[in-house]
């Protein structure tokens, strides 16, 4: 009897796991270090969890009044409301005018998946997306799968060692009409008021659809409002947009899929139409989003005492990261490392550019087993008392040994 095997001709897929992490895992060197984790790490080298989360988790599991029924497809209503108020501010014009809503998604990948499926159906002309380089690996694939051409951009100037507003304006000037632009937090990109005006005006006139990615509000400056200033600009200018809001990293609930696809529309009627279409898409994707993480976060956001504890925990984390950056800078200076290292402490958040060229990065990876992405952007919370000396000495060595070659050689000119 003939048999069909659907599986017979299926090839082994290439692992999409970043090749850096793969190489790191395969490395047998005992003191190897990985400085590119996505999440905030503790001094002990574990993913950070806000203490108030543990307490709330226990309280919830002891509450006999709770039920464990399926959530509606749109998710936990109170979670969405509290999270939107957190993201945009309680008094946001969009909230007051009832033109912002959200769908509770399985993490930020789920939010992008849902948003991209919507764009495929309702924004058929857009077939090009520009993604900020740090997020390209994570979210680019989702756009690519539905037929988008994906380009990445960076606003880091490796010569000036800063996030350059001119580069940002240049990028937006050059990208084609009608495409999708995925933007992260650009808090370190010091746009002047006229720079902001120019940015807004270009996005409007070129009919670019903004898709924001806010993966860790509160972990940049510890000021929750400051961290989402960019959204407030866009809201005040009457833009419609999507935003992926993740609450995994700023609460330390990594394993529960606590994301929201935020929709800001120009009026309530359009919002309801968009949400109704998203509901249909979410029904096919997972039907009901997971509850535990959303329930914990809602309990915290809606209780002033717990909210205070959470904010305090963010403050401590951010202060700790700043302290680490100060120490790295200071140690590099004490080691007599050529170059200026002020850019390290001028950047906000867990992740920042070291300002190394590709030769120096390669030296650190190959010779010192310190795993750093090619662009030199690392997670500073991976540096702690146990490894700071080894890391700064490694950096110093890398810079000294490659001295003479330009500090931040563009890749194209690699000798």
């Amino acid at each position: 009897m003939s048999t069909l095997s659907v599986f017979m001709d299926v090839p082994l897929a290439h692992k999409l796991e970043g090749s850096l992490l793969k190489t790191y895992k395969q490395d047998d060197y005992p003191n190897k270090m990985f400085l590119a984790y996505r999440v905030c790490m503790t001094n002990e080298g574990h993913p950070w969890v806000s203490l108030v989360v543990q307490k709330t988790r226990l309280q919830i599991s002891q509450d006999p009044s709770l039920n464990y029924e399926y959530l509606p497809t749109m998710g936990l209503k109170s979670f969405i409301q509290a999270s939107l108020a957190l993201l945009l501010g309680k008094n946001s014009q969009a909230i007051v005018e009832n033109r912002v809503g959200g769908v509770h998604t399985v993490g930020d990948s789920g939010a992008f998946q849902l948003g991209v499926q919507f764009l495929r159906t309702w924004h058929k002309d857009a077939r090009i997306v520009y993604i900020i380089s740090s997020q390209k690996e994570l979210h680019g694939l989702i756009f690519q799968d539905v037929g988008f051409t994906v380009y990445e951009y960076s606003i880091w100037d490796p010569k000036k060692l800063c996030m350059d507003p001119d580069i940002l304006l240049n990028v937006v000037e050059q990208i084609p009409h009608g495409c999708v632009l995925v933007m992260g937090n650009i808090i370190d990109c010091k746009l002047t008021p006229s720079g902001w005006a120019k940015l807004m005006s270009m996005i409007k006139s070129k009919q670019i659809f903004p898709f924001f990615d806010i993966p860790c509000q509160g972990l940049y400056t510890s000021d929750l409002e400051e961290d989402t200033r960019i959204l407030q600009y866009f809201v005040s200018q009457g833009f419609e947009f999507f935003c992926s809001q993740s609450l995994s990293k700023n609460f330390g609930i990594y394993d529960e899929g606590v994301g929201i696809l935020v929709v800001v529309a120009v009026n309530n009627q359009q919002l309801l139409c968009v949400l109704s279409q998203l509901e249909g898409l979410a029904q096919a994707l997972w039907l009901n989003p997971p509850n535990t993480g959303a329930r914990i976060i809602t309990s915290i956001l809606c209780n002033p005492a717990l909210l205070g504890e959470w904010k305090q925990s963010l403050k401590e984390v951010v202060e700790n990261i700043m302290l680490t950056k100060e120490k790295v800078k200071e140690k590099l200076r004490l080691l007599g490392t050529p170059g200026s290292w002020g850019h390290i402490t001028e950047q906000s958040g867990t992740h920042g550019y070291l300002g190394l060229n590709s030769q120096q990065v390669e030296y650190l990876v190959r010779k010192k087993h310190i795993y750093i992405p090619k662009n030199g952007q690392i997670n500073f919370s991976c540096i702690n008392a146990n490894n700071i000396n080894y890391i700064t000495e490694g950096i110093s060595e890398a810079v000294l040994l490659t001295e003479g070659s330009e500090m931040c050689l563009p890749k194209e000119k690699k000798p």
Copy 2:
């Protein structure tokens, strides 16, 4: 300045929520009843939760050794292993031969979404799917979205009042070569050994790809092995197939997305290839599945004492449903309702056909506010001491008032 509104032309989507539930919700009648919930209900009218789940949830939240890091894209390994052993039996040929695996998904919709995406890419010839009618509303949309033509089938004979093996064989005989066949549990369909042989042979020779849907193992007969007998047949015959395994309903963890897309291949090499492709797809869908529910279930399945408690709780639920069915049958007899009602107790599980025609169902919905799907298949766990008299009297009335018209008129011949 011209503004593009992507949202402007987006229409309001039709609610996909079953129109029956919608009508029920809009009904103001105080004694309205809904007998078509998806999940097993308690006598008090709440979704059932196994007591051992609550206990385990509390234990887990007090365990300081646990971390809350992102799960791998494939999910919690121990959860998948324990669930596969539950589904197929520890000594299953496929497990021993290392040719079965699974991906932890966000519920059964997630499992279907993932499986369908795979089939779209790797089984390009298949563009037709046959889905058992009770699951069409839930899963049909997912196939439809990627371009499948969806047909439904039923194996319930409204005249003989049973799941008819001949109908099943007929369906499979008539469906076209190379399509996908979504099958549920056919435990009440009494296939003879030669019937089984014929079924297998047709599926093989017509190169039909089987996609099983096992939404509530243990809630049919309370015998976990008996409830998945159909899978064991297919494994023993060397088939490759997909199976959506949901653990929401049999543990009472509805809000956590505890599903698995099970892959049975003909050998380990093909299995690994298929799993690697599924990993890529899951990465784009949600990247990391939710943990809490999987963690609770794994703790129960891997601890003999807890496992015993869970099995006992299943036994009690199933006995309770059988008792309800007995009572319904008995009350209908005492009320002198015309017709034979033995088919009610001859069906396994929470859901079963009442054996009413469309006129009778319409009478119950319109006149008695008892909401029943058109095919007369209800969730018997929705019947309890508080509503059984009203329901059975309603059924009796419906049958008496429509007497003379044929008991189970096919829809086409509706007068």
